[in-house]
Symmetry: C2
Subunit: 326 residues, 2 copies
């Protein structure tokens, strides 16, 4: 018996139970064949709730990070084509950093089921439970001046935002410079670490964390107000391999657009997706906390901020607070 | 007997021999006391040529890299105040990189008598024989956007050039971005490796190599046309600890000027010392080889180049050839 037809039945049934009898009738097979097929699916990573009265319903689908599965889905030329798939790591970023230092080529991707000490911006941690998200880091080697690093950060945020919007249908926006938010709650973090020699970039390690299928119980309580997963926002699970392949395709395309056309198109795309613009906010800079209204991107990738005295200045490095009014 | 007085006699005599008899007369001590003092100086690292007929002359002075000596000479607040003095290392840059990654504070300085595989720009090597030069790397942690890295490179070249000009009286100029030249031959190399997190510098490791007391025989033959030491250019030796202390003082002062006043004063100082401006030259960029006339610095630290068609463009990353005409 073909398990695909059985899966289609369960897909249609959604949260509902299907009795063994109705399945055997629908597919024209014996009750024993149904039972065998369910057993087969369990071996593939599906899980079922079985009720003597009601029958079966699916409670979990397999979504392992398998190199062969991801490779089959890839539509890229270089991004992800050198693939390191791991189970538990301290941080994919640390591993990709080591690979970059050892000369790993552009597109080398480290992706793991779980990070034990995932790293976020400003030395913060990043919640990365097993099998629930996309925790990955990729090596880039653009022949660019060091000043391009902030533009690569913004480019990555744009690619991820566009890709996730298309895949999930969720209303995802970008908070400067590179946090992705759904209704003010963070679903993704991006951290670009770059190494430069004098005026030239040597390599960039782009770390990306996407909270895909996390449940509320996966978050520390104090984070729930500020964080959310795609699953919690959409009410359904997503395939991590599919999201990853789709993002890598969009990211690579945008990267080449940037290398050929410069920052102008990226800037327009970023501004269109931004939720940071035209709201008064606090800006924590290394020189102190300022208050102002971000109104757009500077051509360097800095954020242009209008201050109370009417002056307009680019801020190169700041952490944005919540908007004072939305 | 005080060896200082004896050293003053030898200083006055220069290359001339001093007979034991003349020394004993001049200082009013016995010939045996003279002999004992010379022996004492030998133990301190001085070397002498002894001639039965002519007497003694100094052929070498001690110039060890001793932490205590260098610390006594330092006039800085932070630069060099955490001091790691080593004998033979692969590369001071590698060691300082490790220290930076482990959180070493600003001003942490690694200096060595010899580098076995000193590193220059673009993955090139750097000749670093034992005791003959200043081979050092220092950690900086400026609270600056990543785009400042090229400006720090230029700042370091300006500080080193001004310091060496003052200490040696030699006519030293800067070739863009950060090579120091005497009459077209390189006496010093600077390599700034920076690490950034998104738009913000995490740390910079500034590597500086100064060919102080190298003899012709210290260079591979193919380098002699393009390289020279302070000693070969000036005809005398220099104290490495003194040059180092003087440079660290000037560098720290210029660094603080930059943090307070921005790049404008550094740019003026760089342009005044540059030997790269207003000569037609080749410019090897990641995108290909161009020909043009550098006419000044851009406010970002890029070099402004006038091309044949009259256009003026900043180049952020290029390797300059020899001037087509000087």
């Amino acid at each position: 018996m073909n398990t695909d037809k059985l899966l289609m039945l369960f897909d249609e049934a959604g949260e509902q139970f299907l009795s063994g009898e109705s399945i055997s009738r629908e597919l024209g097979v014996s009750r024993t064949a149904v039972w065998k097929s369910i057993h087969k699916l369990q071996e593939q990573g599906y899980s079922f709730e079985a009720s003597r009265k009601l029958g079966y319903r699916i409670t979990g689908r397999p979504d392992p990070l398998e190199a062969s599965v991801l490779e089959n889905l890839l539509e890229t030329k270089t991004f992800g084509r050198k693939l390191v798939v791991l189970q538990k790591v301290d941080s994919t970023q640390n591993i990709a950093q080591q690979l970059a230092q050892q000369g790993a080529e552009e597109g080398t991707l480290v992706i793991a089921e779980q990070q034990l000490s995932g790293r976020g911006r400003m030395g913060r941690g990043w919640v990365s439970p097993f099998g629930k998200g996309i925790w990955m880091s990729m090596v880039l080697r653009p022949l660019l001046p060091v000043a391009s690093a902030p533009q690569l950060t913004l480019l990555t945020a744009v690619a991820l935002c566009r890709s996730l919007r298309a895949e999930t249908g969720l209303d995802i926006g970008i908070k400067w410079p590179n946090d992705l938010l759904i209704a003010g709650r963070k679903i993704s973090g991006i951290l670009l670490e770059s190494a430069a020699e004098d005026e030239r970039l040597s390599y960039v390690v782009a770390g990306i964390g996407i909270s895909v299928n996390l449940a509320e119980s996966d978050y520390p309580e104090e984070l729930l107000e500020r964080a959310v997963s795609l699953r919690l926002a959409a009410g359904r699970e997503f395939s991590r391999t599919r999201l990853t392949a789709s993002f890598l395709r969009d990211w690579e395309a945008l990267y080449h657009l940037y290398l050929e056309e410069g920052f102008a198109p990226i800037r327009s795309l970023w501004e269109a997706l931004s939720v940071s613009l035209n709201h008064r906010t606090t800006l924590r800079t290394p020189q102190g906390v300022l208050e102002g209204t971000p109104i757009g991107l500077h051509e360097t990738g800095a954020i242009m901020v209008e201050f109370e005295d009417g002056t307009l200045r680019p801020l190169y490095s700041a952490e944005m607070g919540e908007p004072a009014s939305t």
